[in-house]
């Protein structure tokens, strides 16, 4: 292992070493504040490491067969780290209500980050599976963490069983693919593939691909594998829902992209593209339509966001339809930009959700609980509005640029059906997005003192809110700042 490898692996090493140290720290002193600060330090050191890597790393670095660190992976890991920092901060306010010391929660969080890091950097089915399981198992623990919540057991069981079945599907798929290609590495199976293709007996390969995609689709909650999403979102504590919605989705999508583009050289060479491509477009169309349609009547904010995230993953799936090599750069850029916009908007919404919840009480938030917020807690309302507009893809926000990217990809790939369902989907989506915004502007009921309603926000939360509003708007109007960062490469 030379120095470059060590350097490029350093963010992962920092997080894993930090996890071990945290375990030791618990043995030494159990203090929630201490472990929170320690986790934040780990994440920020890893983040700084990523920053220096993304500036200095010119070419992808292959570290053994298992891991390949490139700029896309680092950028995705940065998103994961930012999201996890917000999760850590948000959970600190939520975990204070009982006398217990919740050290384990932070250990689990660190493991989730580690799993996501391995996942985005993996170049091999073995490391993929490792990261996948690390991510899922730690998440199961976190989903069921608040034992006294009525939905806690239900949602963690649902998540456990469905994750397990998803990974078994995936394993079988990997086995099928291996049986045809003779290698577990993403990149090296192309030669082997060609002879399979020539023989024309590639049903096993296709079945493997199908099963593998099903496993991923479970985690990305693509329709028709989305049924767990709303229940788990609702039952999990808000910071954990945030983790599910951002970290897990980002990591899974990045690995899907990596896998897909490594196979696409094979997929374009013959007409198998059409069958697998049709499958992907079916997933995409179903997710866009079902996700948006089911979100329409939701009153519970978390369930609504769950359905809307299904739709967003459907939009993103369009990017996979580009398989010619010239389009890869655009595809990667689109995915990273869109994910960035999605993560930022989701972070803002969950931040607002947590801040507007009564302190220490875990309860279901409904859209109507935000009524009239614009007139008494303006900052929080602005945070929600920018996030919602971004999710709806309205200009001035990052979400619009993200949608613009996706449409660009779709036009280049000439996927008119996908474009049509994207338009229909976003049309439906406007109904529930705008409803939330209208609720924010609605008058406060007479008789209630509007000053008594306003939510108390700590100064640090205020700074975070202003920061996310500003980032969303600045990058929405001047997306060049971000695209240049992605393409320093």
């Amino acid at each position: 292992m030379n120095q470059l490898m060590f350097f490029s692996l350093s963010p992962l090493l920092i997080v894993s070493f930090g996890t071990v140290l945290s375990l030791l720290l618990i043995a030494w002193r159990r203090s929630q504040k201490l472990i929170l600060v320690f986790s934040l330090i780990i994440f920020s050191v890893a983040f700084i490491c990523c920053c220096s890597l993304i500036v200095n790393l010119a070419d992808p670095v292959q570290i053994t067969q298992l891991i390949k660190v490139d700029n896309y992976a680092i950028f995705a890991f940065m998103m994961v780290l930012v999201a996890s920092m917000v999760v850590a901060l948000l959970s600190s306010s939520w975990l204070t209500h009982s006398v217990e010391v919740h050290d384990e929660f932070y250990i689990l969080l660190q493991l989730v980050v580690l799993g996501a890091g391995i996942l985005v950097a993996s170049d091999h089915f073995a490391s993929l599976f490792l990261g996948f399981e690390l991510l899922s198992i730690s998440l199961v623990g976190m989903v069921g963490y608040s034992r006294d919540n009525q939905y806690s057991v239900e949602s963690s069981f649902k998540y456990l069983i469905l994750s397990a079945s998803a990974s078994s599907f995936m394993l079988l798929g990997i086995a099928f693919i291996y049986s045809q290609s003779g290698s577990l590495s993403f990149a090296s199976d192309l030669f082997a593939m060609e002879h399979v293709a020539n023989e024309g007996s590639n049903q096993f390969y296709h079945a493997g691909l199908l099963l593998f995609l099903v496993g991923i689709a479970f985690k990305l909650s693509l329709a028709p594998f989305h049924l767990w999403t709303p229940d788990v979102y609702q039952g999990a504590p808000t910071p954990v829902t945030l983790l599910l919605a951002t970290v897990s989705k980002v990591a899974m999508f990045i690995i899907l992209m990596k896998f897909w583009f490594s196979q696409s050289a094979f997929l374009t060479t013959e007409n198998s593209m059409t069958s697998v491509g049709n499958l992907i477009s079916t997933f995409a169309i179903l997710s866009m339509l079902i996700g948006n349609a089911l979100a329409l009547k939701q009153q519970n904010i978390k369930r609504l966001l769950a359905y809307s995230s299904i739709a967003h993953m459907g939009y993103l799936l369009i990017v996979l339809m580009i398989v010619f090599p010239q389009g890869m750069d655009l595809a990667w850029q689109s995915v990273l930009f869109y994910l960035c916009a999605y993560v930022l908007a989701t972070l803002s919404l969950f931040m607002a959700l947590q801040l507007s919840q009564a302190k220490g009480v875990e309860m279901d938030m409904h859209v109507s609980d935000w009524q009239g917020m614009f007139w008494h807690s303006r900052l929080l309302a602005l945070l929600i509005i920018t996030a919602i507009l971004s999710l709806a893809g309205i200009p001035l926000t990052m979400g619009f640029i993200g949608k613009f990217y996706i449409l660009n990809v779709a036009v280049q790939a000439q996927q008119w059906w996908l474009i049509a369902s994207l338009i229909i989907g976003s049309g439906i989506g406007l109904f529930y997005y705008l409803r939330i915004i209208f609720v924010l502007f609605e008058g406060v009921n007479e008789g209630e003192n509007s000053s008594g309603l306003s939510f108390t926000i700590s100064p640090s939360a205020k700074v975070a809110a202003v920061l996310s509003i500003a980032t969303g708007l600045v990058l929405g109007v001047f997306p060049d700042f971000l695209t240049k960062l992605i393409f320093i490469l």
Binding site: P395, L396, V411, I423, S426, G427, F478, D480, T483
Partner: protein, 496 residues
């Protein structure tokens, strides 16, 4: 001339109004008025000073914006844009004045939204980078939706939602067409470009061009609005606050017509020529349907809203006749309808502020108590049905004369719309101002206060403009004498 400055100061003025309202009540409206006055003053002055010939597009600004897609911040104006921007600023002034007493809650934020949507509309009229155009096209929607959704009447959320979704979905179609055009530009020249004048040189195969043209056409037809995508308009107009209705009818509908002229006709001359019969039929159906529906309404604002659909049908018919006279007629219709329907909506707002109802059955006999208001109402209703001497007459006459050369039969049918408009105009006037005065619950006759000085100023300035343009239409037409250069291309394409 610096359009960027105009837009920026409008938004800034709105923000200041919002801020100072929290410090001192009623300061927002003064800030808004001052901003619009200053901006209009600057605009008029720079128009007088500058001696450029605007008969073709004159580039004002061109800066790189999003380099990864070669998107630029590019603004350009010609006489068409200038006339429409002037109309926008004039109606902005009217809007501020009619909201003076009407808006009592959340006033600061109201004026911010009003000025922001005006800035967005000006952006739409001047942008020549297609991405920028789309950007403004959407940005003007947001504050407009807020105006309807926050300060509207009883059914405001439904109306705002409908308005937003109609325009948003149709404009996504346009976005796809825009992206496809940029991709075609890339194929032909090896360079992505969203710049309007680059696109004029593209060669499109007829099959792709018809789809792209439809993408643009649908977005603009929704805005215009034309049958069968008009149904957002009656709701949005009815539920919006007065200034919102004035702005919607006066300027927002014109962005649709502007888009048809600037983009559909110029970028896709041959496929618009192929499509013209369909568009003309849609126009004629809109004229008749709008007139028929207006006649059947009980709600004053709904009546005026349907009359807008009818009048915009003339624009559609005239534009797709590919004829210089019809083209001039269409542009005059835009201006005349902007003034007259703005005035009618303002009038409906004034009546509403007196009787708190928009229902015709609750009105009647107001002439006795408010003769000046009645006089203006009669004049504006007469303008709407095209009484000679007023601007709308010239506009509709030109449109029909021009259209007759291409679609004689359709034009004859369309002319029936003029009769319809006379009928609904008189129904409107008679049921509000004539007949027996209504009695209220205690048996006394309802009497309403006549126009105040501020309202008098609003209506008389609009009426003067309508008369001046009606008597001397060359005031506007002079700018469009040689505007048919571009249309000549379309004509040639049509002749092929």
């Amino acid at each position: 001339m610096n359009i960027t400055l105009v837009m920026f100061s409008l938004v800034l003025g709105g923000a200041l109004a919002w801020y100072f309202e929290t410090i001192r009540t009623h300061s927002a409206r003064w800030f808004a008025l001052l901003t619009v006055l200053l901006v209009s003053g600057y605009f008029v002055l720079s128009l007088i000073i500058i001696e450029t010939d605007f008969s073709t597009l004159q580039l004002l600004t061109r800066i790189s914006w999003i380099s990864s897609f070669n998107i630029e911040y590019a603004l350009a104006v010609d006489y068409l844009s200038l006339v429409l921007v002037s109309l926008t600023l004039l109606l902005a002034l009217i809007c501020v004045l009619v909201s003076w007493q009407e808006i009592q809650t959340k006033t600061g934020f109201y004026y911010f939204n009003l000025l922001a949507s005006i800035a967005g509309i000006i952006g739409v009229f001047t942008a020549v980078d297609m991405f920028l155009f789309f950007f403004f096209w959407e940005v003007m929607l947001l504050p407009m939706t807020a105006l309807i959704a926050i300060w509207g009447h009883e059914n405001k959320h439904f109306a705002a939602l409908k308005f937003f979704i109609f325009t948003q979905v149709s404009s996504l179609l346009m976005l796809v067409a825009i992206i496809a055009m940029a991709a075609i530009h890339f194929q032909q020249t090896g360079r992505v470009s969203f710049f309007y004048q680059d696109w004029l040189t593209l060669e499109l195969s007829s099959s792709t061009s018809i789809y792209l043209m439809l993408g643009f056409f649908i977005a603009f037809a929704v805005k215009l609005p034309s049958i069968p995508v008009h149904s957002w308009l009656p709701d949005a107009h009815t539920q919006a606050p007065t200034a919102g209705s004035v702005l919607l009818a006066g300027v927002l509908l014109k962005t649709g017509a502007y888009g048809l002229i600037r983009f559909v006709l110029h970028l896709f001359p041959s496929s618009s020529s192929d499509f013209a019969p369909v568009a003309a039929v849609l126009g004629v159906v809109s004229i008749l349907y709008g007139a028929k529906m207006a006649f059947a309404q009980q709600d004053v604002k709904r009546l005026i809203a349907y009359s807008s659909i009818s009048h915009m049908g003339f624009v559609m018919l005239a534009l797709f006749s590919f004829n210089a006279i019809a083209y001039q007629g269409a542009i005059l219709t835009l201006v005349a309808h902007g003034l007259s329907s703005g005035a009618l909506f303002a009038l409906a707002g004034v009546v509403y502020s007196r009787v708190h109802s928009r229902d015709l059955t609750n009105m009647g006999g107001f002439w006795q108590s408010a003769p000046r208001m009645g006089g203006f109402a009669l004049a504006f209703a007469a303008a709407a049905f095209g009484l000679p001497g007023l601007a709308n007459f010239v506009a509709e006459f030109f449109s029909l004369v021009g259209a007759y050369q291409r679609y004689p039969l359709l034009t004859i049918v369309a002319a029936l719309g003029l009769i319809g408009s006379a009928i609904y105009g008189m129904v409107f006037f008679q049921s509000v101002f004539q007949g027996d005065a209504k009695k209220d619950s205690s048996g006394e006759q309802v009497s309403i206060t006549d126009l105040t000085a501020r309202e008098l100023l609003v209506f008389s300035s609009l009426l003067v403009l309508l008369i001046v343009i009606g008597i001397y239409p060359n005031l506007i037409l002079a700018f469009f004498q040689d505007a048919n250069i571009a249309l000549a291309i379309a004509n040639q394409a049509g002749a092929l």
